[in-house]
């Protein structure tokens, strides 16, 4: 008797893909050296060059709206055709009242949609993407909008202050025959791992220091990636690009090496050195940077990581349609180049640490 092997991969019954993608990064940059100076640490031992800081009038909703508008421009579809808006973030402006409904209204989504906010630390955005794949892939809808956006807050003087940044990306998921990049399969690896959390009513998160390494980030990222590749029958060389969750510059490089990916493969999608860790936006924004230059036939492996903990691995293949869509909205590199340096005091003001009463 032959045993039917059940694949661990999630594959929709209808082929789907990214019909449109868009990013948003605010213009302000705080150099890590400025943070080090304030706390009397060495300016040489900083984990990244600088991070993106949101302006006084920006938040997860406003950034999500612009990223979504960019995605819709590239998708070339009327927002009235969307049937879902799902936003992943750990900095939703409301604890109760979804960012997704505000974003939906602002971009012109209709009233007959699914909407909700997701939280799973830095993987909430990719979880939204998998949900969108499921909705479209099951033929329940033709188009769904998934976003990963954050305005992460760093506890003053804490290690994470260097990297907690703001930014996000949005994806219109739709039928594969309209996609700029097909989504071939997804695989997620999730456990109850307390590496980083924030209790309700606390302003800043707590983290487990070195515990956030091996048992957390590396275990989940490498397991998700290697499982997906094994189940798909692929090897690192099969991929033109790999995008890993990027809390700093070191972790994704090490994960890449552990898995057998080269620096060349991860270079395009590794943005944390210049914009910091945009949390739920991190690997999604990295993916947009890759899509901005990827060519037809390029295979992309995207692996997010969210503390708590879990990783979503997503396998994509770029189509011929991608090339003409890139120019329809600002490229991620344009947002990165749009840069105004601020000092620590201005950063403290913008992040609401100094209030004019």
């Amino acid at each position: 008797m032959t045993e039917k092997q059940t694949s661990l991969l999630m594959r929709p019954s209808r082929a789907v893909g990214i019909v449109g993608y868009g990013a948003y990064i605010p213009r302000y940059r705080l150099p890590a050296a400025a943070i080090a100076r304030v706390w009397g640490r060495s300016e040489k031992a900083v984990p990244i060059k600088e991070k993106a800081v949101p302006g006084l009038d920006e938040d997860t909703v406003t950034m999500g709206i612009e990223a979504a508008r960019n995605a819709l421009k590239r998708a070339g579809i009327d927002a009235a055709l969307l049937r879902a808006v799902w936003t992943g973030s750990e900095s939703h402006p409301y604890a109760v009242k979804p960012s997704s409904t505000i974003i939906a209204e602002a971009v012109g989504a209709p009233e007959h949609i699914q909407a909700a906010d997701l939280e799973f630390a830095c993987k909430a955005g990719t979880e939204a993407m998998v949900m969108a794949v499921a909705l479209v892939g099951s033929s329940m809808a033709d188009y769904a909008l998934a976003l990963g956006v954050d305005t992460a807050q760093g506890k003053p003087g804490d290690a994470l202050e260097y990297t907690a940044a703001a930014g996000g990306a949005a994806f219109v998921i739709g039928p594969a025959d309209q996609a700029a990049a097909e989504i071939l399969a997804t695989y997620s690896f999730v456990t109850d791992t307390p590496d980083f959390w924030r209790r309700a009513y606390q302003h800043y998160p707590e983290h487990g220091q070195r515990f956030t390494g091996e048992p957390a980030y590396f275990r989940h990222v490498t397991t998700a990636a290697s499982t997906l590749m094994r189940e798909s029958g692929t090897k690192p060389e099969d991929y033109a690009y790999a995008v890993f969750h990027q809390p700093n510059a070191k972790f994704p490089r090490r994960a890449a090496r552990q898995l057998g990916f080269t620096d060349e493969q991860i270079k395009t999608g590794l943005l944390s050195p210049v914009i910091g860790n945009t949390y739920a936006g991190a690997s999604p924004v990295g993916l947009t940077a890759v899509l901005d230059e990827a060519l037809e036939g390029d295979r992309i492996l995207m692996v997010s990581y969210g503390s708590g903990a879990g990783s979503d691995a997503i396998d994509l293949r770029v189509t011929a349609r991608n090339a003409e869509r890139t120019a329809l909205a600002p490229k991620t590199a344009e947002y990165i180049a749009r840069r105004v340096e601020i000092d620590y005091a201005t950063y403290a003001r913008y992040r609401g640490k100094l209030l004019r009463e």
Partner: protein, 133 residues
């Protein structure tokens, strides 16, 4: 709490959703009951592109309640490419770089809290220099 009036104007404020007059084709913002050009009844929705130019601007050094955190901020009269003019804050631009005639584009930003940190958030249009210009 001014929830109902903010809710009433959401679509207009979030995305510059105005009207087009079915009689004379004038583009109207904000939405009105009567077309200011021909006097006919105006009701058809029209979404503005968000592109326009600065007609005038000024820097506010004191602010009405709810806007103090943003001081100093620049307020402008922006002439939209479809015709109407709106009053709006400029954002993502240093006040020295603003000039009359400057091309701008609409972005949706947080305008204020309704009364307190417990109140609802009011989002709406502002304008920034055209990206990539």
């Amino acid at each position: 709490m001014e929830i109902p009036r903010h809710w009433r104007l959401q679509k207009q404020r979030y995305g510059l959703l105005g009207e087009v007059c079915p009689h004379c084709n004038a583009k109207i913002f904000p939405a009105r009951d009567v077309c200011p050009e021909c006097g006919g009844e105006a009701k058809e929705p029209f979404r503005f592109s968000g592109r326009g130019e600065v007609y005038s601007y000024t820097v506010m050094n004191s602010a009405p309640a709810g806007f103090e955190q943003a001081l100093p901020y620049t307020i402008a009269l922006v002439k939209l490419e479809e015709g109407p003019t709106v009053t709006a804050q400029l954002t993502d631009v240093e006040q020295e770089k603003v000039s009359i005639g400057m091309p701008v584009e609409m972005v949706t930003r947080r305008i204020k809290e309704d009364g307190s940190p417990r109140g609802m958030l009011v989002y709406g249009y502002k304008f920034r220099p055209v990206m990539g210009a």
